[in-house]
Amino acid sequence: MTVHFKQDKPEQSNRLDGMKQGVLGKGVSRLEGLAKVTGTAPYAAEYPVEGCAEGVLVTSTITRGEVVGLDKDAVLAMPGVLAVIDDSRLTTRPAQGTANEAPKQGPKTISYWGQPIALVVAETFEQARDAAKHLTVKYREEEGAPVDPQAVETEEKDGTVRQGDLAHAMAEAAHSVDVTFTTRGHASAAMEPHAAIAEWDGDKLTVHASLQMLNYNISELADALGVEEDDVRLISRFVGGGFGSKLGISEEVVAAAIAAKDLARPVRVVMSRQQVFQCIMRRSETTQRLRLAADEDGKLTGFGHHAVVSNLPGEVFAEPVLQSSHFLYSGENRELMLEVARIHRMTAGSVRAPGEAVGMPALEGAMDVLAEKVGIDPVELRLKNIPEQDPEEGLPFSSNKLAECLKQGAEAFGWDSGPRKPRQHQDGEWWVGTGMASAARAHSISEARAKVTLKSDGTALVETDMTDIGTGTYTILAQIAGEMLGLEPNKVLVELGDTRHPRGSGSGGSWGAASTGSAVYVACKAIREDLAARVGVEETALELSQGKTSAGKSLIDLLGGEDIAREGHYEPGDIKDDYTAAGFGAFFAQVRVNRYTGETRVDRMLGAFGFGRVLNHKTARSQCLGGITWSIGVALTEALEFDPRDGHLVNCDLAEYHVPVNRDVPELDVLMVEERDAAASPIQAKGIGELGMCGGAAAIANAIYNASGARIFDYPMTPDHVLKAMPD
């Protein structure tokens, strides 16, 4: 039985707080934890499949043009080689998040260097890898493909805002800032490479893959193959990180499925690390001009944010740099514009916190410049400019904890308030200083279904095709169901990542917990109604804990040998249009900058965040820690390098694309400013997976300035950038 709930009004009844189990929000250790730490949790490529052949993708060595010939015979003659596949259904880019249809297909047409063009399948991995390198490809090259975003005309994206007269406000302002920041491309670099094992049973296809959103991926795969969705089963029980790179189906999934059909045997395709870098997603580089106009006291009168990003021709996705800029600060005269340059570099798409991950570091860097000009404490400047309501849409905020985060964060960090001067502290060769920034991330929520079964033995089962990509879904869904049904989380079995289950929300845009959690909540509420009827009370009066009612009657007795199963179907309703919803927070960092070499090390960092209800204190904190760690990468180390001539991604491995290592990350503090966001979701939670990196890089950048006097406008702040800006 399906129970549908569409949220049109704020959820003020606070039902979850009235439950008696008392397990929601607690720092319960991950239920799948032991499986992960003992290496017994299977990831996509690790399912034992009898007679599995191994496929390796072949990628293009030109930027734009046509494949006019493949010397298949030579490769087929190599030891163990079973097939060379260049089926026109092969996909040549990953699907963008929530695409719900096949991405670009047709491996003969090439639009970026490193694009997949064929799959070589052999008995063993070593044979396939060698053979793939040997495939001779004849191209008809279309020279002169633009690869430099600076060198092409740009297209304006929808959503430009022009309000009042920014130019005038800038001219009249007591203090104004007009600065341009750049950020470089980023890679998700999830630790598990993209992988798939495909197996057909007649017309029925089963694929073990590493994907974030099976609810969309199933349609994307079916569409790519030209088969019915009902004939496809996707399984992703454990996903070794996604960060946007596994939102849509990627090339190896379709290739494995086609090969397995052709060969009538299972085929595994695992991308090499270099391929993951070169043919999945990049976060676009950005160039961002920030214009801030303020009165004598620092109150914003004008706000301008103009960003240029890039993508391949034909891709709809454009890094949504301005997302939080639209509502974070006041300023009646506004101009916000996003433009896209069409170039032939690999696909640009979602990488953790698309938009704010790079928009906020630029905005918050500009705010620091403004605070200095006005001569006030940067925390004070932010506090002064928190709008009462969305300054563009005029909508109320569903909740906004920015002020609390700024104040509590400053206090916990030991922020030295007042106007600031650079180069005040030296420790040997190092300049030491502090910086801060606000955090903001627009809240998204999505439709989701989950089935909950309260079993006659007094345990519960939760089933949805939602994934756990490290976010803690297994555990929080068990906590929600446990809280509602009066069970310890270990009495709740959660089954995820299988399209046989009802469609969840998928893990993306930080919406997974709030959306799928709400579906579980809706299902549990319906089960509670059934139980309440059996007890003879109103559902609202039913108190359950430790498998018993408050009167001491056990669930097992109440169930009398029956299971109660309900499918919860949650849909965000009109409420979406009534509020501006976002997570807010603040970052504080202390860094040291070497006065000789420009090397920067983060000494300590704190993030204070308000993101609605905390579902699990431990996993929520981990999400925040992860976000802050990424902030360090954005600030100091991460940059994709593209060849200026053919546009290929040059530093396509983990030795040269520098994700932060353990030693880059000091002790971190996380402060969760608890709140209930009644309009964000029925369970009053918002997303947290991305908020932790939306602005953190600016806290570090601002601290670099405070420490050393080097004001840098180009992220990441590697020694070369620091030295260039360092005053003597």
């Binding site: 032991l34 017994t40 490479p193 490290g470 491995d653 983990l654 353990n662």
Partner: protein
Amino acid sequence: MSDTISINGTQHSLPDDPRRSLLDFVRQDLGLTGTKKGCDHGQCGACTVIVNGIRINSCLTLAVMHDGDEVTTIEGLGTPEAPSELQKAFVAHDGFQCGYCTPGQICSATAMLQEIANNWPSDASESLEGEMNVTGEEIRERMSGNLCRCGAYANIVAAIRDVAEESA
């Protein structure tokens, strides 16, 4: 010399294809998939195993080079029923998220604590000689060969410290 290799105490014969990395040998041929492949080029540490007591990246070594060696993989350190102290501490401190780097982290940490006990210095050691201590900075440096993209480092360090202090 023998042409077998011991994995978690069980003898196995070496693969025919000399190209087989130790990593692919344990994952593919033996089905011990707890050891992960994150890069296949010695750049991430997900494939860390312990060979004759020493941690190495199993992706950058050939299985055939290990005749007579004793290899311990994550499966040899503990099981869900009987996890090792580090495995328990990783769960308690949430020293992971997606879990993909985790077996490598734990194998690495297991051998790392022994390296400190042996008083091997690191890049973070003030002095190259004398007793080495299990400080945060030492752990961070010594664990820097194990990338964690989920960003669980702070909790990984806490988990390792916990175990080191317990056994101290």
